[in-house]
Each structure stands twice: as structure tokens, then as C-alpha cells.
Amino acid sequence: MALDKRARIGARIAQELKDGDYVNLGIGLPTETANHIPPGVHVIFQSENGIMGTGPAPAEGEEDQDMINAGGGFITALPGAAFFDSAISFGIIRGGHLDFTVLGALQVDQHGNLANWMIPGKIIPGMGGAMDLVTGAKTVIVAMEHVDKKGNSKVLKECTLPLTAKGRVSLIITDMAVMEVTPEGLLLKEVSEEFTVEDVVNATEADLIIADNLK
């Protein structure tokens, strides 16, 4: 994905976060969020291997071999950070103490189902912490490209890949649109500048309800 697209998605996710929120960002695109937190908003980031209060990546040569995030990247700790074991870390997640998790997706559907951990017969990397994150976080945001490399919609009526969790996604933020999972169905709330509503509808296999106050 082009850098500006990634940045735009990250910036849009960041708008959802409030001062004091506890947030876990998945590997890849979701990490872009951290670069766009508005001034004055203090958000605390968890890495599920066992830290609350991660800081930016260390300068080259400053890496500490014992300081990594859940993606294996080197991190730093901010003042007020705490280390804990992975059971407590997942207790934070599963117990609903985390305000947001932002995760990538292979597929997401209009019922809030998410598939992001395996493609049968191709690659089975394992679910890692994703199932717990999607099951437990107060709000689950999916960040992804709207269509796959072949141009097929990743926003579906029903996921066809093995699920990560059922009915837990609240918000889907893609390069094309922002969609909210509601009891009535998938609500198209925002369309990116370079696309029309029609573009989004055509690129989306799921049924979309167009919001009255569409932006």
C-alpha cells in the first residue's frame, strides 16, 4: 500500500482514540496509528508479550535485545510503563480492560466477523494473540485495504476463511471508506476523497447502508 494511504488510515484510526485510552495495535498497518495521535491526547500502548506503556522504536544502535513488541520489533518504554507476564497481559485483553485493539484482516463481514489468521492449504501461521484481542477488547477496529491484490472485496456478507472471532468488530477503516458494524447491518459512514459512494459500493461485496450524514 502506498505510504500516503497507510498514513491516512492511521490518522483516521487515531481520531477514534481518546485521552487516557489503553490501546493494542496489531502488526503491520495498525501500527501506523501511533504516528498520528493528536497533540494533547495521551494514549497508552500495550504490547501483549508483556508491557503497558511502549514508546517509539529506539534509535539505531540503541536497541535492547530484551525489549521487543509482539511483532518482534525493538521498542522503548515510556515513564510509567510496567512489565508483566503474558498471562496478566492477556488478562488485560480478555477481561475487557483494553479500550481498543486495531487489527489487520484477510476478510471482515457485515456481522462483525473477522478472519485474519489462516488460509487453509496455504499458510497457517497460528492465531497468536489475535483471537483473545478480538474477543476481549472493548472496541475492535479493523484496518486494511478495501480489496485484495486481485481486486476482490475483503468486506463480505459472510467471511469464507476460518474466523478469528464472531461478531466482535465495531469499525472497519480502509483506504476507501469507514464502515460501522451496527445491529441493522454495515453502515457506510465515510468515503475517502478520491472515491465516490458508487466506487465503494462496487468494491464491496457486503450490503452497505449509506449513512444519512455520510462524509
Binding site: 497508552i44 500495550q46 512489565f83
Partner: protein, 217 residues
Amino acid sequence: MFKQITAAEAAAMIQPHSRLAIGGFLAVGAPEGIIDAIVAAGTRDLHMIVIASDWEDRGVGKLVVNHQLKSAQVSHTGTNREIQNQMNSGEIQVELVPQGTLMERCRAFGMGLGGVLTPTGLGTVVEEGKQIINLDGKDYILEPAIPSDFALICAHKADKSGNLVFRKTARNSNPIMAMAGKITIVEVDEIVESGELDPEAIVTPGVFVDYIVVKEA
């Protein structure tokens, strides 16, 4: 992130029929200031989840003496004659829970688990009315998570990120109860700057903490 409040403000959040998970053991590590404020507020029909019912004049025993409890889940009542009287008269409904089971059931709620399987209590009155699960030839009692509306705990110090450290055996159930409430209120001796507590020595991370009351001198 937590908000700093007074003990009276903490007590005012608590309503009749609130379920309170309270830290401390035999009044050591009990949030005495918050308990005193609840006594002062006089809120009744409370449910208490705590290891022991302490003494008549210390710890949660004061809530008993002031007739503020409708029911309780505790593992030990032997140090408090008043709760024994109220149990006998039917004023308070008490579920006696083995201490280790109580800890796991409270922890389970805080950690989003539905419950745990334990051998403790098998073949005793504790298993009555409970589901017995056999795994690989061994029986276990299915002990469900204990939900609570408020966790009321006591810590030694907090930092401005809400991280907590405890002091000696006053730690006891406090880190467990800290995770076990929908809303967690902590009474501390003092609040220090973020970064002043060793991040390796923090026992309860601030993410579990909603409100902090600084103990009055």
C-alpha cells in the same frame, strides 16, 4: 487512566445491592479509609466478596457491625462474632468459599474467564449444587467467576500512570481484587511521578485502576 477522588466520593458511587470485591486479609491491606466512608454513607444491602470478615472494629468487620451487608462470599468469618450472629439470625446470607478458590474466581472475572476447575472442595459440602467435570479420570468442581461492581483495594504507592506497589503481606488479595471489579478504586499512601516506581517491580499495572483515594494522614 485513573481519576483521583476522596473516600467520600468513592463511597457515594456505591449503591444499595452493589457487589464489592474488597482487598485485605484480617484487616491488613484493607482500604480502611474507603470502608469508613461507606460506613459513614450508611449504604445498605451490599454484597461483599473478601477473604475474611476481619474484626468488629477493623477492616470490613465495620460494615458487618453497621448492618450494611445483605450477603457475602468469604472464606473465613471466625474473627468476627457479629457476622456469626447475623449468619445465625439470617440477616446475612454467606457463601463460604475456600480461600484459593475465592482468589481464582475473582481473578477469573477480572481476566474475562468464565470460571476454573479445581479439586478443592471435592467430597465436601463445597461441591453441593455444583457441576463436577471429569478430565482424564480426575474430578474437578466447576467454580464460576465471581462478578463484582466495585473492587476496593489498598496499595502502598501509586504512580501517576496508576501503577501500584504493595507493602509486605499487605499485598495479599489486593492485586487479585484490583483486576476483579468493573470499577476499581484504590486507597494509597501516596501518588508519585510516573517513572519513580521501578517498572520491573510494579505489581498491578495502571490499566486496572479507575480511581485513587489518597489515605488521610
